[in-house]
Symmetry: C2
Subunit: 246 residues, 2 copies
Amino acid sequence: MRRILVTVSYDGTAYSGWQKQKNENIKTVQGEFERACKRLFKTEIGTIGASRTDAGVHALGQRAVFDIDSTIPTDRIPMALNSFLPEDIVITAAEDAEADFNPRFAAKSKTYEYKIYNSPFRNPIYRNFTEYVREKLDVTKMKQAAEAFVGEHDFKGFCSSGNSSKTTVRTIYGISVEKDGSVITIRVTGNGFLYNMVRIIAGTLIYVGNGKIDPSDMADIIASGDRIRAGKTAGPLGLTLMEVVY
Amino acid sequence: MRRILVTVSYDGTAYSGWQKQKNENIKTVQGEFERACKRLFKTEIGTIGASRTDAGVHALGQRAVFDIDSTIPTDRIPMALNSFLPEDIVITAAEDAEADFNPRFAAKSKTYEYKIYNSPFRNPIYRNFTEYVREKLDVTKMKQAAEAFVGEHDFKGFCSSGNSSKTTVRTIYGISVEKDGSVITIRVTGNGFLYNMVRIIAGTLIYVGNGKIDPSDMADIIASGDRIRAGKTAGPLGLTLMEVVY
């Protein structure tokens, strides 16, 4: 048996998230991926993903492993799998991994981008890949507030109920807020993220941008551990898993 | 009666182009737009668009006019129409126009962008808004070749059969080719464009980028008026109508 580690891109708009569901009528990325594996390798294949992205969340750098007996060369696997995948899921790389390599627990860091379309009118071209915010956001204040997230913090105020992690302490290595035309991109890298953490950070920075939260209160809001003091959970379509580093 | 000039954005992926078809089962942007007008103004409304964008082509700056008796303030029209439009069509502006203003014939210039996703693997997030090209394109050569299009030329080699214009002479005011990550954007402004002209220019520049056409032959290919010497017509999804200037 060989363990293969692949990089997966997807437009998550049409999917109920990465994680396969018991009900096979629920369309998931992992479900489609395992169906393609079965067609290529002619046997049932179980897969483990690095991140359980939610319904509507996208990925350009999701990682996943599976074990095969096949002698197909590793570098041929992406093209071969892609021929069995729908056009909204693309395998972009494959490499050999250790037999016990777990892409979730081995992750040293993950990077997400959260995109906001900020304009008086919606943009139909970006509608599935951005969160729409009509009121003008103050990006300078958002940048200022973002600084408070960097470092090791107990992020228990920044996770949704349903979070199953043992500890709510996480380290954010870096966060940036950049505006390009009407699109604001929040890019955040950390050693791990709690359930909905990036979407709550984005929702909180939107509140900073529209003046509901003052940037100088950010550190205090994080330290309070109070979910109520943070912003709303921003929608899933603005979120993309960019990279997992091992 | 008042004539209203609106600006229209759309994701053209799901539409058989702008132009309304006799067969009402064929989904068109103009058809959806007139249906929204009818619901808002409670009467049949005819519309005239600036550009008959093809099936799959997008717009961020299409323009269209219609006549109404309604006393609704002009600046309220976009929001009111948007509430009756599907999410892939958005009216972003409205202004009053002269009673005989024709958005097609009055256009002084139009700007289109053609986007190419150039990478060893497809990107599912850009799939409906770019033309996918696997082989690496030489952007420097594409920039060089693009210069030859600027100015007044007889573009009869750069239009598809079915072109109905009286003359095939058009003036290109400017063309740029820029690469950002894996996305190459060709932006072209001219006094008007023949049927499929921008898509043939894009297809020809792709041939320059992959070495099938030498940049130094570009002026000669244009002057020849020979459709066969130009490149293939690039796909519709990469094309977006950005702006119409009056």
